[in-house]
Symmetry: C2
Subunit: 329 residues, 2 copies
C-alpha cells in the first residue's frame, strides 16, 4: 500500500479510500491510484485490515465429523448463513474428543473469530468462559454445552423417540429394542429417555438386554442385536438411535431370518429405496444449522442481547414400510 501511495504520489489514506470505495476522492486522483494498484498488482491484506477494525468477519464451526452426512448438511447451512452476513467459515472436526474440540475452539478464538458454532463433545465447556467473557459469541448446536449456560439449538430428541417408539407400539409391538450411541453423548441419553418413557407410558417393561448404548461400530451394533434377538424374550421391533446405527442394523438384519420392525432416528439418503423402505424420525439437519447460525449473527449484530436461549426443533415421523406391520413371532 505504501508502494502504491508512493507511485501514485498520494498519501496512504487516499489509497485506502480508493481501495474501500470511500467517497471524497476526485476521479482524477482515484484513477491515478487505481493505475498504481494495477501496475503493482496490489491486493489488500484483509488480515491487517481486520486487525485494525477489530472484527475478523469469520466464524468457527466445530463439529464431530465433517464427513458425516448429518454434520455435512448442517455445515453447509451454517456456511450459507455466514456467507449472507459476509463472514468466512473456519471448520474443524473434534472426532468426539473433548481435548481436540478444545484445541480447535481455542485456536479459532486465538484468531479472534467473531463467533463460534459448536457441536460439543465431552461434558465440560467451562474452558470457554474467558472467551465468552471476552466477547466471542457462541451457539451450541445438536447438544447443549456442559456446565455452561449458552445458546443452544437442538432437535426434540426425547419427544421424537417417544413418537417413534409409540408408532411401533401402535402396530402391536411389545418387545422393542433400542440401540443408541455412547451414553455420554447428550442426544444418545435423551433418545434413551424417550424410549423408556414411551415404553413406560404404554405400561411395557424393558428388559436389560433390550437396550444397548456404545460406539456405533458395526461389531457392537451386531452384538447388541444378537443379544436382543437371542434371549428368552426376543424383541420384535428395534428403534435405532441414529443414522449410523440404522444403516448397520439394516445391513445386519438383511442377513438374518427374523423379520424385525425398524424405526430409525434421523433420515438418510436411500432410506426410501431400500426394501423394505425405512421408517424414520427425521430431524432437520440444515434447519438446526441455519437456526444456530442465525442466532449467532443476531447476537453479533446486537439484535439479541438477553440470556441464553434454547431452541428445540420438531421432528417428523416418515412412514415407509419397515415398521408398519405387527410382531412376526
Amino acid at each position: 500500500m505504501k508502494d502504491v501511495a508512493a507511485r501514485a504520489g498520494v498519501g496512504l489514506k487516499t489509497v485506502s479510500r480508493v481501495v474501500n470505495e470511500e467517497p471524497g476522492v476526485t476521479p482524477d486522483t482515484a484513477a491515478r491510484v487505481q493505475a498504481a494498484i494495477d501496475a503493482l498488482g496490489f491486493r489488500r491484506n484483509d488480515s491487517a485490515r481486520l486487525l485494525r477494525t477489530r472484527r475478523t468477519a469469520s466464524v468457527g464451526l466445530v463439529l464431530e465429523d465433517l464427513a458425516d452426512p448429518f454434520y455435512a448438511a448442517l455445515s453447509r447451512a451454517v456456511e450459507d448463513v455466514a456467507r449472507s452476513h459476509g463472514a468466512l467459515l473456519f471448520t474443524g472436526s473434534s472426532a468426539e474428543d473433548p481435548r481436540r474440540e478444545q484445541e480447535l475452539v481455542l485456536a479459532f478464538c486465538a484468531r479472534r473469530v467473531d463467533g463460534l458454532v459448536v457441536v460439543p463433545a465431552g461434558d465440560d465447556h467451562r474452558y470457554l468462559l474467558p472467551e465468552i467473557a471476552a466477547g466471542v459469541a457462541t451457539v451450541f448446536v445438536d447438544r447443549p454445552a456442559g456446565r455452561l449456560d449458552a445458546d443452544v439449538v437442538l432437535t426434540d430428541n426425547a419427544g421424537g423417540t417417544r413418537e417413534g417408539v409409540a408408532h411401533l407400539i401402535a402396530h402391536g409391538h411389545r418387545r422393542i429394542g433400542f440401540i443408541g450411541d455412547q451414553p455420554g453423548i447428550h442426544t444418545a441419553g435423551e433418545r434413551l429417555r424417550g424410549y423408556r418413557e414411551a415404553m413406560a407410558s404404554a405400561g411395557l417393561k424393558v428388559r436389560p438386554e433390550w437396550y444397548a448404548m456404545g460406539p456405533t461400530t458395526p461389531e457392537r451394533v451386531e452384538a447388541a442385536l444378537d443379544a436382543m434377538l437371542g434371549g428368552a424374550e426376543p424383541v420384535t421391533a428395534l428403534f435405532a438411535g441414529n443414522n449410523r446405527v440404522t444403516v448397520t442394523a439394516v445391513r445386519v438384519l438383511a442377513g438374518r431370518p427374523e423379520r424385525i420392525a425398524l424405526v430409525g432416528f434421523d433420515d438418510f439418503e436411500l432410506a426410501d429405496v431400500l426394501d423394505p423402505a425405512i421408517t424414520v424420525v427425521a430431524q432437520d439437519a440444515p434447519g438446526i444449522g441455519r437456526v444456530a447460525a442465525q442466532q449467532l449473527f443476531r447476537r453479533l449484530d446486537g439484535i439479541v442481547t438477553d440470556g441464553a436461549s434454547r431452541t428445540e426443533l420438531p421432528v417428523r415421523l416418515i412412514e415407509r414400510g419397515s415398521a408398519e406391520f405387527p410382531p412376526q413371532q
Copy 2:
C-alpha cells in the same frame, strides 16, 4: 500484552518470550509474567502474530458442495492433513458457480491463506495467476484448473468408466446408456469419453438417445432414462456418471418393469444393501483429498519446487450384483 508487561513490570519482549515459551527468561520473571497473564486473562491474538510472521497457518478449501458425501469425505481428509501441519481450514462451497468460486478464493487470498485446495468450477482460472505469483500455493482437486498450469489430483475418470462399461459389455450388453453431469464439468466430459472409447473398442455403435449430459436433477435423469428405454433400440444397461445420477437411477428403475443392468461411477453408502446391490466404479474421496493436501504442504515446506504435477488415482470396480447379468430383452 502491553497491560501484562506493565503489570509484571517487564518489557513487551519478555511477555512475548513467556507466551511463546522461548528460552532465556529466569524462572522468577516468567512466574511474574505468568501471574499477570492469568490475572488479566490475557490471550494471545494469533491474527496479530501472524501479520508479523507473514504466515497465516491457514489453508482455504473451495469445493462444490460441503453437503455432498463425496466432497464431505474429501474435506475431512484435507482437514486432517492440515491439522497435522498445524494449519486451520477455511471452507466454502462454490455451488458450481464460477463467480462464487472466485469470490471465495479471492476472499481467502485476501486473508493471506498460505495455500488453497480448490475443486474448480468453470473453465477459466487465470484470475488466480496474480495470487499464485504472490506465493499462494494452490492445488486443484477432482478436476484440473482451466487455462492455468497448476498441481492437480484427480481420479482416473476415463479409465474407470472404460472399465465399468467394459464390465457391462463382458456380460453381454450391447445397447448401453450413459447419463452424466453437465458437459462443462471436466469429470463429466472425461467419463463420457471413457464410455465412448469402451463402446468403440468393442465395435459398438452409440445412438444419440443413449447418452445424456446435464444437471443431475431427478427430473432430468428420469427423462433421460425414458428416452433410452422408450426408443426403437432400448438400452439393456446403464452407466451412471456419478453418485447423484446413480441414486436417482436406482429410484427411477425401482418403479419400472424393465430389469436394467447398472454400474455407477463413485461408491455410496448402502450401495451394498440395496436389492440388487449396486456395482460401482469406486473412487477414493479421502485419498484424493489427502494426496492434494499433502502436495500443498510439500510446496509450502519447499520440499517440492518444480513445475505443476498431475496425479491420477486409480479406481476400483466393485461387483455387487446390479450389473452381473445378461440383457433381459
